[in-house]
């Protein structure tokens, strides 16, 4: 009796495992395979050709520029916000935490749209900026703003629980030993959060480079000027340039795989150091 019961459980277990693996293959692995097979459809030459396109190069450059500005910006702001929230109790603290998480719950299209409403030609500040000759929407500053908004939570959200768990005692100890605020941050706070910070920055960067929705709204799709890699993929795809589209998509996929590998390594590292903080 009991053996039959066990066997039934085993059968169920096997079925569930196979189902999960099938789903994983179907939903995760297959698209990845498709991306690379499509990219290689005309061989390595096709890929080189696709990457040599000036528009493709511009898209890659723009993506790097957007990430290079928004990621450091969010790193600094994220550390400051996390420090503030983890170390102090002040009125409005709960609201601040909610605000930080807002970009995660708002649709990326809305995240883009708010900037259009603010800085667009018919927006609140648009006409005034237009007179000054400053262009934000359909230009690089808009892309950076939209990306920074969408990726803001990653660093702060990673650091808040970490810093709360570590407590302020070490920082206080540094102060009583005569360290200045900056010395305390550099010698005590930063080394303690470094792995968590790296983890947050990594996630932030992955999202910054891969963001589509918010960026699509503010971009204006000017070829060679305001097209980031994800937008370029869409444009090429719509032009039936499949090899071109999948080549750039493949680049993004590679980035994702790299992020995943480093993230796994970091998780292992953090877990080993201070017992599964994330």
């Amino acid at each position: 009796m009991s053996e039959a019961a066990t066997q039934e459980t085993q059968a169920t277990r096997a079925a569930l495992t196979i189902l999960t693996i099938l789903l994983l293959v179907l939903l995760l692995l297959l698209p990845l395979v498709v991306v690379f097979t499509e990219a290689f459809k005309r061989g390595l030459g096709g890929i080189v050709e696709a990457l040599a396109e000036p528009d493709a190069i511009a898209a890659i450059e723009l993506t790097l520029i957007v990430a290079a500005v928004s990621v450091p910006l969010n790193t600094v702001c994220g550390v400051a916000a996390a420090w503030c929230i983890a170390r102090f109790r002040f009125p409005g603290r709960g609201l601040l935490i909610t605000l930080i998480e807002l970009p995660l719950s708002v649709s990326p299209v809305i995240s883009g749209l708010v900037w259009v409403l603010l800085f667009g030609a018919n927006g609140w500040l648009g006409p005034a900026l237009d007179r000054l000759g400053v262009r934000i929407i359909f230009a690089v500053p808009g892309l950076i703003l939209a990306t920074a908004f969408v990726t803001f939570p990653f660093v702060a959200r990673t650091l808040i629980p970490l810093m709360e768990q570590q407590g302020a005692a070490e920082e206080e100890a540094a102060l009583t030993l005569g360290a200045s605020g900056w010395q305390t941050f550099r010698r005590v706070t930063l080394p303690n959060i470094r792995w968590g910070l790296l983890y947050g920055v990594l996630l932030c960067n992955a999202r910054a480079m891969g963001e589509f929705g918010a960026v699509a709204v503010v971009s204006g799709h000017v070829l060679g000027q305001t097209m980031t890699m994800p937008l370029q993929v869409e444009a090429l795809f719509n032009d039936y340039d499949w090899v071109g589209a999948f080549t750039i998509a493949g680049l993004l996929a590679l980035l994702a795989l790299l992020t995943l590998a480093v993230k796994a390594a970091l998780e292992w590292r953090i877990g080993e150091r201070s017992g599964a903080l994330l």
Binding site: E172, L175, T176
Partner: protein
């Protein structure tokens, strides 16, 4: 160096953590801040270090007001309850920290720092641990590292927050003696926080007993035990048995024991008499106290006394008369100390066995006349 605390007030929201604390600490003293949790003792330590700021009052160290002096400039060594060692630094780097963050003009050369770290490690008897990380050493060793780190900056004043709280009983005992010796040897002025009265009594020159942000009494341990200033201190400094009483004209009538009248200096009105169990005398003869049980182990002899629904143990010295179980006896409470009835409920000592209501004159008179 002397430390003067002048009428310190500090509240967190509606809760007064410090409610008018004044205390003068002389050079070379070893002071214990003793009190139950929430009595404000850690807050007091933290305001001295500059980690917390008072609402009013002043802290004066060597005639210098600390009013606008930030923590980093106070030169006060602080040993945290859980040590707060820098987890990413080796033991040696931890100890060197206070010297390494000094501005270049006051920083010793690298070799000087190394030498100082090594001498501190040796002083702490952990000379071989310099290369380890905090997570690789034991609790007692971490305690020593925390102490060495605080001493590296040659502090004028050493503050220790529950220095033995996180250690097991055995390590605690040996560290107590060791720390006391270190204090003497280095000529430190030290203040430590504890909720363990035995620890305070054993180590400190003077003990300040705190309750709800106020200092109830500051005295040498022996005096604190022998002459507690009020019922709270009496109760906190050791085992106590308490009796309700009523004071009139400098004499206290003990509730339920009509033949006992104690001399006292309390104002007339409700009062409480406290006595240490070993000070209670048992006298032969029929009386209100009943002996529930006897137990003796070696020279120690104890009688479990039931009185008016309460039960307490009375140790009886060897050679003295002791009643058999089941017998009744009279009590000698002449060593009891009488204090005015505490004005707030929180100040009322827990009576070991049960809560006491304040006596009312009417009830006492009835009992007296019926007796």
């Amino acid at each position: 160096m002397t430390v003067e605390l002048r009428n310190l007030h500090k509240s967190f929201g509606n809760v007064a953590a410090l409610d008018g604390v004044s205390l003068t600490i002389e050079r070379g003293e070893f002071i214990a801040l003793l009190g139950p949790s929430g009595s404000g003792k850690t807050t007091l330590l933290r305001v001295m270090a500059g980690l917390e700021f008072v609402d009013s009052g002043d802290i004066v160290i060597d005639e210098c007001s600390m009013h606008n002096v930030p923590a980093r400039e106070r030169g006060v060594g602080f040993v945290f309850q859980h040590y707060a060692l820098f987890r990413h630094m080796t033991v040696a780097r931890n100890i060197a920290f206070g010297l390494e963050v000094r501005p270049r003009s006051r920083r010793p050369p690298a070799r000087g720092i190394e030498a100082r770290v090594q001498s501190l490690l040796n002083l702490m008897e952990i000379g071989h641990l310099g290369g380890r990380y905090p997570e690789q050493i034991s609790g007692g060793q971490r305690q020593r590292v925390a102490l060495a780190r605080a001493l590296a900056i040659e502090p004028k004043l050493l503050l220790l927050d529950e220095p033995f709280g996180a250690l097991d009983a055995k390590v605690r005992k040996s560290l107590r003696v060791w720390l006391r010796e270190l204090h003497e040897r280095m000529g430190l002025t030290s203040i430590f926080v504890t909720h363990d009265q035995a620890e305070a009594m054993e180590m400190a020159d003077r003990v300040a007993v705190l309750r709800t942000g106020r200092i109830e009494q500051v005295d040498a341990p022996a005096r604190l035990y022998a002459e507690p200033a009020n019922a709270f201190v009496h109760e906190f400094m050791g085992e106590s048995v308490q009796f309700r009483c009523l004071v009139a004209n400098g004499r206290a009538w003990v509730d339920g024991l009509p033949d006992i009248v104690l001399p006292c200096r309390c104002p007339s009105g409700p009062a409480v008499a406290l006595i240490r169990p070993h000070e209670i005398g048992l006298l032969p003869g029929p009386g209100p106290a009943r002996v529930e049980a006897q137990h003796h182990v070696g020279p120690l002899h104890r009688a479990r006394i039931a009185l008016d629904g309460r039960v307490f143990d009375v140790p009886i010295p060897e050679g003295r008369w002791w009643p058999a179980a089941g017998q009744t006896c009279r009590l000698d409470l002449s060593s009891a100390r009488v204090y005015p009835w505490p004005s707030d409920a929180a100040g009322l000592p827990r009576g070991g066995d049960r809560e006491l209501d304040p006596p009312t004159p009417a009830a006492m008179l009835i009992e007296e006349s019926s007796a």
